[in-house]
């Protein structure tokens, strides 16, 4: 549905995108990850034909954004980052107006159904200016869905929301994905969103795609290190440690360790092995997710390479 090869783009003479690769296929929920300023939003704008690029091959739903931007936008629902609304309108009036820009006329019932789905059914008489941030995010999801899109592009959809609000947006997206939207591009720097929603990821940094592939394959194939904090009874024997297990530091009873799991090794097997070696483990806390480890490693200053694990 989206195929981008070596996209390069400059704005006012400054190179913003220096080599972006992105491949989203039918049925994918693709997490586009990267630090602030990495070029995520600019990549989206290039896909929509809103930014001209100097080099690279870009195809979105089979169209070239430089020549067929309107056709592309007709089939895509977009939730831009921090996008505003006309505060003087009510939500149904706004959605009806917005739908007309897609040549779609919504009945009152259609609008009520959509607003009910995003949890704004009881708030449809209020003007948007009175909505909370969370309510506006839900309305932004409804706006992105108003055109029954084939492809959904969400730029930081849960930014600034509390954990409950984030979870509600996640549930909404999962529900809509199950209803037949055939591809979703989720652009975020929140790894929890990607962990929960995506099957495929791309990590971009400083205008380059550093890594792209199926999330499961990347985590397994990279042999990602994970950090743990172990509370032990007494001082352990640190002379002979299991393979892939290394100690980083200790503070009182707590020992910080990094573990590199091999393909099939389970954490429980490692803890059992440590117990047999005399480690009296009282408590284990995971300090980072494996995706976070992967992300930090890829976006670290030294990571100037590009990897393609699974296309």
């Amino acid at each position: 549905m989206i195929s981008i090869e070596n996209l390069q783009l400059a704005i006012a003479g400054k190179e913003i995108l220096k080599g972006i690769d992105l491949h989203l296929r039918l049925g994918d929920t693709y997490g586009l990850l990267g630090p602030n300023g990495a070029g995520k939003s600019t990549t989206i704008f290039a896909m929509l034909g809103l930014r001209s690029y100097k080099n690279g091959q870009v195809s979105v739903l089979g169209h070239d954004p430089m020549k067929q931007a309107v056709e592309i936008r007709r089939s895509i629902g977009v939730m831009p980052e921090n996008a505003g609304f006309y505060d003087w309108m009510t939500a149904p009036a706004y959605l009806q107006w917005y739908g007309r820009l897609y040549s779609i006329t919504q009945t009152e019932r259609d609008l009520d159904t959509l607003l009910d789905k995003v949890g704004l059914g009881s708030e449809n008489q209020r003007t948007i200016g009175t909505y909370s941030r969370g309510m506006k995010q839900r309305l932004a999801v409804a706006r992105a869905l108003i055109s029954y899109p084939r492809l959904l592009i969400l730029d930081e959809p849960t930014n600034g929301l509390d954990p409950k609000g984030r979870r509600e947006i996640h549930d909404l997206l999962l529900e809509f994905a199950a209803e037949g939207i055939t591809g979703t591009l989720l652009c975020t720097h929140l790894l929890d969103d990607v962990d929960r929603l995506c099957n495929r990821i791309g990590i971009i940094d400083q205008g380059h795609t550093r890594l792209e592939g199926r999330l499961g394959d990347l985590l397994a194939g990279q042999g990602t290190d994970q950090h743990y904090r172990l509370r032990l009874e007494g001082k352990p024997n640190t002379a002979n440690l299991p393979a892939g297990f290394s100690l980083l530091a200790h503070e009182g009873d707590w020992w910080h360790a990094t573990v590199q799991f091999k393909n099939s090794k389970e954490p429980s097997a490692l803890w059992g092995e440590l117990w047999q070696r005399g480690w009296r483990i009282q408590e284990i806390r995971s300090e980072t997710s494996s995706l976070e480890e992967l992300y930090l490693r890829i976006t670290a200053p030294a990571a100037s390479y590009s990897q393609e694990v699974t296309k």
């Binding site: 704005i11 939003s41 600019t42 704008f45 929509l48 809103l50 001209s52 309107v70 056709e71 936008r73 007709r74 895509i76 977009v78 831009p80 921090n82 996008a83 505003g84 609304f85 006309y86 003087w88 107006w97 917005y98 007309r100 820009l101 897609y102 040549s103 706006r143």
Partner: protein, 250 residues
């Protein structure tokens, strides 16, 4: 159809907002005060009826151009600052459709001002001979001048992404253009004044009002000035189309 959808939003935003109502109220107040002065002030009441209509026509065009400058400056940069521009340009509408819709919204606002001004023109000029000509030429020359300033403001608004920068630039140009109205025939009698008159669309409109309302000259004498104001509109439209094709939205 999409043009009308954009225009609907633009005009509704203008006419329903406090800002829009305040503008219309201020405009009515200005015209009321002007009309009152013309009948109550000893010196002004001695003015020829045609002279009064001419002055009021010039004031209406100036106020219309100022409104167009404000709306045009807000058209892209205001939307950008409120975060509503990106959702708009992500929809399947072309840059020219968006521009035309916004211009149509501006035209509706000018139409409301024109309608509001007509009874005042009638009130001060009903006893004269040239009220009909005044209304006709106000529409014919005032509309391209006002719309031109609107397009110019939209061009700057789309290019700079800043309401303030766009508004200051357009209003400065508007004040320079309107200077013949302020300095009177003194400057206009000089060579510089004549050159300014020849290229200044605002002066073109005012000179036409002078010509048809006060001197009762025929339409054929206005063709050169008509070309000037429509050339102004065309240039501003081109500038706006160029900027709106790649608006500053990020």
């Amino acid at each position: 159809m999409k043009t009308l959808t954009i225009a609907y939003k633009e005009s509704a935003q203008m006419l329903r907002s406090q800002r829009g109502l305040l503008w219309l109220l201020s405009f009515s107040g200005l015209l009321s005060a002007f009309s009152l002065l013309l009948v109550s002030n000893t010196e002004l009441s001695l003015l020829d009826n045609a002279q009064v209509v001419y002055m009021m026509s010039g004031t209406v065009v100036a106020a219309g151009a100022l409104l167009a400058a404000i709306l045009g400056s807000d058209a892209y940069a205001g939307e950008k600052e409120r975060g509503t521009l990106v959702p708009l340009i992500c929809t399947p509408i072309g840059a020219n459709v968006l521009l035309t819709g916004k211009a149509l919204g501006m035209l509706i606002a000018w139409g409301v001002m024109f309608t509001l001004a007509t009874p005042y023109l009638w009130a001060v000029g009903a006893s004269g001979q040239n009220l009909g000509a005044a209304v006709f030429y106000l529409a014919l020359f005032g509309t391209p001048v006002v719309l031109g300033f609107g397009y110019l403001a939209m061009a700057l608004s789309a290019r700079t992404g800043s309401v303030l920068a766009s508004l200051l630039s357009t209003v400065t140009l508007l004040m320079l253009s309107a200077s013949p109205l302020l300095v009177g025939p003194g400057l206009r009698g000089t060579a510089i004044g004549r050159v300014m008159d020849a290229v200044n669309p605002f002066a073109g409109a005012l000179n036409t009002f002078d010509s048809v309302i006060i001197d009762s000259q025929p339409f054929s004498a206005q063709v050169g000035r008509l070309v000037l104001v429509f050339a102004w509109l065309g240039l501003c439209l081109l500038a706006a189309r160029r900027s709106a094709a790649h608006p500053n939205f990020q």
